[in-house]
């Protein structure tokens, strides 16, 4: 799973969000490292939607502009949990080996 995809799913994990909400949330989650552009975001959303990992939650008109909210599907939540698990176990191994090899604490 690409990092952008992982971050989008993470942004939706706590509840439904609209496009711009996802962009700002992904920026926060990644501590400003990943700033999605609209085209990239919608290509990812389109793919996630055809894979049934997300779905449209509702639509709103705010200041005469359309907002469409997306949410995780159960299989999307499952997929995200699997991926998070995988990343964590990789990260755990990396950290423990670094400690073993030179005893340098990483902060």
């Amino acid at each position: 799973m690409q990092e952008a995809t992982f971050l989008i799913l993470t942004a939706l994990a706590a509840g439904s969000q609209h496009g711009y909400g996802i962009i700002t949330d992904v920026e926060q989650i990644s501590k400003g490292r990943v700033r999605l552009r609209a085209g990239t975001l919608y290509t990812a959303l389109e793919r996630l939607r055809t894979d049934k990992l997300i779905e449209v939650d509702r639509e709103e008109i705010v200041e005469s502009r359309l907002r469409r909210y997306y949410r995780l599907t159960p299989s999307g939540a499952e997929r995200l949990a699997e991926e998070a698990d995988r990343l964590r176990s990789n990260a755990d191994v990396a950290m423990s080996r670094l400690e073993m090899s030179c005893g340098v604490a990483t902060t």
Binding site: R37, A38, L41, R65
Partner: protein
């Protein structure tokens, strides 16, 4: 977020975004154009009048990617039944027109029995449409 005090700036920006969004496939635009436009406008700086180069490249490249992807799926992933159904329609229309032409010709020569041809062509369309409806209600997956 932008303040709405300078209307001409925002409409100009909006028009330019729409011009970039025009690169997307029609079906995608119908569903997502307004939505993407509001995301783009929300992300724009106050007083911004034109999309940044990054934004333009991002939109156009994603649009082209989406078009190529659709072309690919249209060519190779479309189920056989769908192509068959479409082809059958084309065939039916051509055949109906041939029947109709023959009937017109015979009628103009004063042969009233040619009315049966027209009835036949009409029946062909009616039954064909029924079959089409049934096929539509059970879309191939």
């Amino acid at each position: 977020m932008r303040g709405g005090d300078d209307v001409s700036d925002s409409t100009q920006l909006e028009r330019r975004y729409l011009r970039l969004l025009a690169f997307y496939p029609k079906a995608f635009r119908r569903e997502h154009e307004q939505e993407m436009l509001s995301v783009l406008i929300a992300g724009a700086a106050e007083g911004q009048r034109r999309p940044s180069l990054d934004e333009a490249i991002d939109l156009v490249s994603n649009a082209i990617f989406m078009r190529m992807w659709q072309m690919f799926t249209k060519l190779f992933v479309r189920p056989y039944e769908v192509r068959h159904r479409r082809l059958l329609w084309a065939f039916r229309i051509v055949w109906g027109l041939v029947l109709l032409g023959l009937a017109m010709f015979a009628l103009s020569c004063g042969s009233w029995w040619a009315l049966w041809f027209i009835a036949g062509a009409a029946a062909d369309f009616v039954f064909g449409y029924r079959i089409y409806q049934i096929a539509q209600s059970q879309p191939p997956t």
